[in-house]
Symmetry: C2
Subunit: 84 residues, 2 copies
């Protein structure tokens, strides 16, 4: 069993209006120290051990389904888990 965490964020060059809006709200709460907020998606994926390499599978799923690769970028962490 593998436990995979995937983080999908806008590319640096892409404006994040939702993040801007949240930053405005945070400032109105009185937290002027907040300089920037960028919002992304986070996926926790459990993968059963199989014949195929997990990295390839995850990259394929990200490219085709989880991320819009035109505007977004992703990174992932794979942890092997012992069955109990």
């Amino acid at each position: 069993m593998y436990f995979v965490k995937v983080y999908v964020t806008y590319k640096e060059s892409v404006l994040d209006p939702q993040g801007q809006a949240v930053k405005g709200a945070v400032h109105r709460m009185g937290y002027e120290e907040i300089d920037e907020i960028r919002i992304g998606k986070y996926f926790e994926i459990k993968v059963a051990k199989g014949d195929r390499p997990v990295e390839e599978m995850i990259e394929n799923i990200c490219d085709k389904l989880l991320a819009n690769v035109n505007m977004e970028t992703y990174r992932y962490e794979i942890t092997a888990m012992e069955e109990v």
Copy 2:
């Protein structure tokens, strides 16, 4: 300057229908090894150094704005960054 990563996820006891739907799509792509997908939100926050403790500020912002604490839980990582 601090760089804070916040992860907001549904509590374990809360169903994640969006994750279920994505799991279905992944299975239809032929990746039957995927056992579970849970979807959350991910925030990258830049905080200027100030007088207030960052932890307290971030927890307050999460509780009041970023997470719905009835259904969601959050965790965060704070990294101190050198100004260049």
